[in-house]
Subunit: 351 residues, 2 copies
Amino acid sequence: MASRSIRLAVVPGDGIGPEVVAEGLKVLSAVAPAHDLTFQQTDYDLGAARWHRTGETLPDAVLAELREQEVILLGAVGDPSVPSGVLERGLLLRARFELDHYVNLRPVKLFPGVATPLAGAGPDDIDMIVVREGTEGPYTGVGGVLRKGTPAEVATQESVNTYYGVERVVRYAFEVAASRPRRKLTLVHKDNVLTFAGELYQRVLAEVGAEFPQVATDYVHVDAATMFFVNQPRRFDVVVTDNLFGDIITDIGAAIAGGIGLAASGNVNPTGAAPSMFEPVHGSAPDIAGQGKADPTATILSVAMLLDHVGAPAAARAVERAVSDDLTERGALGARSTAQIGDAIAKRVSG
Amino acid sequence: MASRSIRLAVVPGDGIGPEVVAEGLKVLSAVAPAHDLTFQQTDYDLGAARWHRTGETLPDAVLAELREQEVILLGAVGDPSVPSGVLERGLLLRARFELDHYVNLRPVKLFPGVATPLAGAGPDDIDMIVVREGTEGPYTGVGGVLRKGTPAEVATQESVNTYYGVERVVRYAFEVAASRPRRKLTLVHKDNVLTFAGELYQRVLAEVGAEFPQVATDYVHVDAATMFFVNQPRRFDVVVTDNLFGDIITDIGAAIAGGIGLAASGNVNPTGAAPSMFEPVHGSAPDIAGQGKADPTATILSVAMLLDHVGAPAAARAVERAVSDDLTERGALGARSTAQIGDAIAKRVSG
Ligand SMILES: CC(C)[C@H](C(=O)O)[C@@H](O)C(=O)O
Ligand SMILES: CC(C)[C@H](C(=O)O)[C@@H](O)C(=O)O
C-alpha cells in the first residue's frame, strides 16, 4: 500500500510549547510508518519572540500559507513579556476564527491509574466530551471603551450568537452523541440570565434534536454544571456549550481528569474547507520552560485527535493505547523528563 | 439595654424557599433576645405563584415597600412552570439591580467535619470569600435578537462594565482582604480575551491597590481559577470578580465546601441607601419541595451574614458557631428533616 502524505503545519510557539511539540512529533513519526502515513512538515515561527522582533502576531501571508496545509499542530502561545491578549487575540483566536474552527473538541476522560482530585471517582465516572463553540459568543472581540481613564468610563464586551453558528455546532454535537454508547447530549448555558443567546441555543437544541430521536437531551446552567463536574461527573456524556462557558468548564474538566498536563483539544473545521488545529489545553507555562519538566502527554493526545481527523483512526487508537499504558505505569516510575515520557510513548507505538 | 428593632422583609419564594426560610427565621428569633434585637417582619408574596396569578414578578409598588425595609431575607425563586428567565430577571435580578446590590458576598468555607469531594482537603485549605460584582457585567440584560427564527438570526448579550461600578466593588474587596489574616486579593477575569473589560478591572485593581499596600494582589484567568478551586483551593483568600464569573466560581466553591446546601450569600448595598438582601446560593429545588428534605443550613448561614450586616456581629458569630457545632455532629446523627436541623441550631443559639 502506498503511503499517504499529509501536509502538516507545526507552530511550536512559546514557553514549553516547543518542548511538548517535539514529543508529539516524535510519537507521530513513530506511529506513522505502520499506518502508511507520511507527514510533510512545515514549521511556523509564531508567538512572543516573533512579536518582539517584528510586531507581528499572525500575518496575512502566514495565514494564507496555513490555509494550504491539511492540519496544524500547535504547542502553546503566550509570555508575560507580551501584554495580555495580544497573542491570544492576534494569533490563537485569529487562527480559530479565520480558519472557521467552529468545533472546539475537548475530551474529559480519566485514564486508569491517573489520580483525580475527586475522592472516590474512577474512570467510569469521568468520560465525557465537550463540544465548545469556537467562532462566536463572547470571543468575538466586539466591544470597546468609552471615556477611558475617566470616572465615566464604560467598557463593553459583546457576545454575538447566530443561528448559523449555533446550528452547526449543535448538529455536530448531536452527531458525536449519536456515535457514543450513552447517547446523551447536555446543553450548558445560562439561559435564565443570558436570555437572548440562551433561548437561541435551547431552540436549536430542540430543533436539531428532532432529527436525533436516539439521543437524550438535557440542559444544565453553567454554574450548576461546574458543580456537577465536581460532585456528579457521571451526569455528562457529550456537552455542547458556547465559547466562554466551554473555556471555563473544560479547565475544570482537565482538573478532574488528572490535570492540565493531560488535556487535549482540537479546533476543528468539520467542512474541511480549512485546516483544523490540534493543541494541548494548557498554556506556555513560562515558569517551567526549558527545564524538561513539562508533561507532553496532552500534546501527544492532541496528536491522536489529529490522526482521527486526518482519517487514520487505527493510528489514533494506537497512540491513545500507548498513552494509557504509559499512564498506568507512571505511579511506579518516579519523575521523568519531557523527553523520557515522549520516548516511552513513542517506543510503545513503533513497530 | 433597650432592644433594637429592625425592619425585616421576608421573601420565602418558591419550592423549598418557604421551608428553609422558616428555619432561618426560627434561628433568628432564637438568637435575637440575647443580643437585644427584635425584628419587625413583613412577608412578601413574590415568585412563581404570584406570577401565575397576576403576571407580576416584582411590581413597582412592592419594590417601593422593600426600599423602606432595613434588610431582606429571601428563600429561593424559580419554578419549571415559569419560562426560564422570567422570575430570575424580573424578580431576583431586578431586586439586585434596583437596590444597587453591587457587592455579592459569597464565603467559601469548609467547616470542620463536613465532607468535601476533594481528596485530602480540609478546613485549612478551603477558606475564602468571593466578592462578586452584582449590578453590571453580562447581567445587564442589554442585548437582543434580530431576525428571530430565520437562518440569519443574530442574538447578542452585552457585558457593560463601568469605572464607577468596578471601582466600588474592587475597593470593597480590598477592605475585606485588609481585614483578614492572609490579606490576599485575587482578581479573577479573562483579560486575555475580554480585553476591554479585563483591562478596566486590572487597571482599577492596580489603582485602588496603591491605597492598600498591606494587601497582596494576584490575577488568575477564570478558566484557571476553576481548576485551582479544585486542585489548589488554598491559593485563594479574597476573590474579586465580575457578575458572571462570580456566579460560576461560587458554585464550584459551594461544591468543594460541602455542597450547595451550605452556601450562603449576601447581596449587599454597602452604602445603606437601600436594604441588602441575604439568600442561600441554592435554587428552589422543586423536586424536593414540601418534603422536609431541604437543608436549611445555607439559609441559616445567610441569616448570620444578615446579622453582621445589621451590626450585630456577636449574634452572627453565635449563629455560625451553632451551625459549625451542628455540622460537626451530623455524621453521627443520620438523616434529619429541615425542621429538625433548624430546631437543633435554634436550640444551640437560644439562652
Ligand atoms: C489562551 C486563551 C485565549 C484560550 C481560550 O480562552 O480559548 C485558552 O484558555 C484555551 O482554552 O484554549
Ligand atoms: C438564579 C440566577 C439568576 C442567580 C444568578 O445567576 O446570579 C443564581 O445562579 C445565583 O448565583 O444567585
